[in-house]
Structures are given as structure tokens and as C-alpha cells.
Amino acid sequence: MMKLIIFDFDDTITDNRNLDFESFRISCNFFNIKNPLSLKKLVDLRKKSFTAQKILKSIKISTENTFSTKNFLKYRNDFLLSDQSNLYLQIKKDTKLILKTLEKKKIPIFLCTVRNDKQLVRNFLKKNNIEFYFTDIYCSSDLIEKIDNNDSDNRILIKSSLLKKIIKKNKFKHNEILYIGNSFEDRIASSIHKIFFLKLNNDYLPQENYNYQYSTTNMKNLNKIIKKLIEKDD
């Protein structure tokens, strides 16, 4: 049934919680601020859909110096976009298991992300020895339009535009393509193209009240679902 698999990147094949935590810690260090966030507190806030800006507001950073939220967020964003961030970005357990399953069945695997820097993504894949599993990587920099990826509607537009490119390039039918992601944005982007969507639920991000056809919480289970979806064709 499924002949092409597309993965989202952040919080789908990666676990971003440590990176997120470090981004606040390193930024606090830079601005000489005592970091009031614990990893647990950060996870709690993220579960409630708090953005970085909202998190900063909620933790009420006390400092004698004049504090600029704008500068803090810019420093944090620069860190997230730097190669250094790859040190804290972790691959999800058992991701390789799925990639091997797909490789055995000769199913092309694509990566689709709203990130701008493809090299950063490649470096992460290389570091974890999984780059060769992927047929191609599509980043927001593959679009001629420079779309701000900090906005949710824009992220849907970016994902949907990238999915369109992948679909156009690989002439599979829409019902032979599965997109695996972790957010409602991924779901909407796949529904635009009428391709299948599998939600990888994440205990680090807010839960969505939506009845998904395919969903799971871990890679091991995802591997089982994928095997079934591929074998439907055999």
C-alpha cells in the first residue's frame, strides 16, 4: 500500500527537549541571568503550548540589568540555528529500526522540515549514521519564497509546499504516500494533498484532541505499523 515514506524532522525523528532546555540555559548564561527553568518545568510549559516568548514571560526572570526579551530570543534562535545545537539534538530511540525496515523493502524515504539550513540537518543525520537511508531532504530553503517559519500558518504552507514538490517528483499515487509527523500542522499539510498521515505523539508537546487514523507514541510501535502498511501491498 505505502510506497513512499516522508518523515518530519524536529520532534519526529529527533528528541528536542534537551536542545530546548540547553537553548534557555546557554542564553541565560550569556545574559548573566540565573536560569530559573528546570527541564521538568520546561516540559510542563511546552505541554501547555507555551512558545519561547511566553515561557520567558512566565518564568519572570529577575535581573538588575535591563532585560531585553527581543535580544534574548534572537540569541536563543541563533544558537538553535548553529551547528553547536546538534550537540544537544538527540535521535529518537529505535529510529534506525524503522529506517532499516524501509531499506529492506526498498521504500524511498524523504525528510521534510521547515528548517532553513539543510546542512545542519545533514550534519545531524551524518552524526547519527543515518544519512544514507534518506533519498532526499527538503527544507524551507528549497522554496524560492522566503517564508517566516515562526508562524504556525506559515509552517503549514511551507510543509504543504515541500510535500507538493516531493509528490510531484515521485510519481506515486497520493494513497501510496505516508507522512509521519508530530503536529497538527503536519496533519493539515498532508490533508491538503490527500496523503496518509501518521501522528507520532510526543509526551513533550501538547496533546491534540483529534481522532487520528494512524498514531503512536514510540518508534518501536511505529515500526510495527509501518511494516503492516507496507505488507498490505505484498
Binding site: 522554496l143 524560492i144 522566503k146 517564508i147 517566516d148 508562524d151 500558518d153 504552507l157 509546499s161 510535500l163
Partner: protein, 292 residues
């Protein structure tokens, strides 16, 4: 010599197209609801009998239908006028054995953008009354094509710019404000500055010429530059010349980004947009100021 009728011949695109087709050796006639001179006649497209007898008398080979009203203050007028104008024209084509018809539609038929660049297969959910009428007219064209076997090319034209455009339009308005030492006010929406596609009027006219030469490849085509541009980019071009200050106004709500896939027009109409916005801007600025 191919005999062509242009509706809306005194409009922004029509007046430029009239000259271009004459230059290219066509026998060009026009109808307008505002003036008559030489080969241009003042006829309302809503006056079916007058329109039909004019078309019958002239024995045209091709009709290029550009006429439309855009007045957003009266949406019902737009619906009635645009729909029945197109209906009368198409009926007249059937009655007078005119098989070739080019319809100037609009990118407004797409409505909310699902993906970029927007291709001709993108869903059509127009949001404005103008976009709705254009889609209704496209459907009329499809009906006449299928039922009466007319050869119809539909051009979905993006935002047009060019010299001598109405002052109320985005670019002349921006240039004149900047020239009068006013601030350039930019709207920044929650999802950023609007990303758009602007095509020069000469390119649009050229696309119609290409359509005429390739009538055998009738179909639906995006006519756009294929180059994304934001209002912020346009303001920066203006600022370079006028040294005006830019004021960014944060807007509540989101904007709709749009850019277009143009490969179908390249392949079947042999049309390629050639005029780059940034290269044309200085002359656009000068003519706008001269005509102020």
C-alpha cells in the same frame, strides 16, 4: 489578416494590448463602455442585440475578453455585470461561428493558498466577489467549450503593474506617498509581510500574444512572473530613490501569500515573463511622478 476583437480595450491591459497586436500585424478592433474612436466602438456588453449585430457585421476570427468591473463596493454589480457580459459574448461567438476565445481570468480564483507556488491544479475557493465572478466566467467558458466546441484559452493573470496604472493601485500609491515626503506605511501581518507575484503589463500583453499564436494549445494557464516579492521589498526600492521613512504597522490577523507556477504557460504557450520588477522600478517611478 487575422481579425481580432478586444473587450475592455481602453483599460490598463487593453490599451497596451491594442498597440502590441497592431504592431504584430493583426487587424485589431475594440469595444469599450467609455469611449469610441477609430476602430474602437462604445458598446455595452450587457446590450446583447447591439453586441451581436456588431460582432456579426465584423466577422472576427478571435475574441479577447478583458472587460470586467472590479468595484468591490458593489459586489452584486460585479457579479451581474461580469457574468452576463461573458455569457453574451460567448453566445455571440456561437451564433457567429467564432471558434477562438481568450478569457482574461484572475489569480483571485484561487483564494486561500494551500501550497506555493500555486499551479493550475490548485483548488479554487475565491474569497472576493471579483474572484467569484472570474471563476463563474471560467465555468461558463468550460461549458461553451464542451457543449459548443469552442476553442477557449483561460489566462489566470497575477497582480499587474506598469506605467500609467491608476493612482489607487498599490505601487503608484506607494510611490506617490513616498514622493510627497510622506512615510511609507507597511502592513506587517501576524505571519509576516505578504509574499506576492507581480507581473508587468507588457509581459501580460505578450502572454496574450503567445496565446493567440498557440490557440491549438487552449487550456488554463497561470500568467505570472514566477518571482516572489513582498511589499517590504517594494518599499525598499522606493526608499532608495526617495529616502522616505518606512513605518511598519503591525496588523491583527494573517495575510495570504501567493506566488505562481508558470511552467505550463512556458511549455504550451511559449510564454516567459521577461521583465524583472527591480529593473523596471526606476522608470515606473519616473513616469508615476511625471503624471502626478
Amino acid at each position: 489578416m487575422t481579425k481580432i476583437l478586444i473587450t475592455g480595450v481602453t483599460g490598463f491591459i487593453g490599451s497596451n494590448l491594442f498597440d502590441l497586436l497592431k504592431l504584430n500585424g493583426y487587424d485589431v478592433f475594440g469595444i469599450s463602455n467609455s469611449q469610441s474612436k477609430d476602430s474602437i466602438s462604445k458598446i455595452s456588453l450587457l446590450n446583447k442585440s447591439k453586441l451581436n449585430s456588431y460582432i456579426k457585421k465584423n466577422n472576427f476570427d478571435i475574441i479577447i475578453h478583458l472587460a470586467a468591473i472590479i468595484d468591490e463596493n458593489d459586489p452584486l454589480k460585479i457579479l451581474q455585470n461580469n457574468y452576463f457580459s461573458t455569457m453574451n459574448l460567448l453566445q455571440s461567438c456561437v451564433e457567429n461561428n467564432i471558434h477562438n476565445f481568450i478569457f482574461a481570468s484572475s489569480h483571485a480564483v484561487y483564494g486561500k493558498t494551500n501550497y506555493l507556488p500555486i499551479d493550475e491544479d490548485h483548488p479554487t475557493f475565491p474569497q472576493s466577489s471579483y474572484g467569484i465572478t472570474k471563476l463563474m466566467e471560467e465555468n461558463l467558458c468550460r461549458f461553451f467549450k464542451n457543449y459548443f466546441n469552442l476553442n477557449i484559452t483561460i489566462l489566470r493573470i497575477s497582480s499587474v503593474f506598469g506605467e500609467y496604472q491608476k493612482k489607487t493601485k498599490l505601487i503608484p500609491n506607494l510611490i506617490l506617498n513616498a514622493y510627497d515626503k510622506k512615510q511609507i506605511v507597511l502592513h506587517q501581518y501576524e505571519n509576516g509581510f505578504q509574499i506576492m507575484d507581480m507581473i508587468h503589463v507588457d509581459d501580460v500583453c505578450n502572454s496574450i500574444l503567445c496565446s493567440l499564436k498557440n490557440m491549438k494549445n487552449s487550456g488554463i494557464y497561470n500568467i505570472a512572473s514566477g518571482n516572489p516579492i513582498t511589499v517590504k521589498d517594494i518599499a525598499h526600492y522606493t526608499q532608495k530613490i526617495t529616502d522616505s521613512k518606512i513605518l511598519i504597522k503591525k496588523m491583527v490577523g494573517k495575510t495570504n501569500h501567493f506566488t505562481y507556477e508558470t511552467s505550463k504557460a512556458k511549455k504550451f504557450l511559449k510564454f516567459n515573463s521577461k521583465i524583472k520588477f527591480e529593473k523596471k522600478f526606476q522608470s515606473l517611478f519616473d513616469t508615476t511622478i511625471q503624471n502626478h
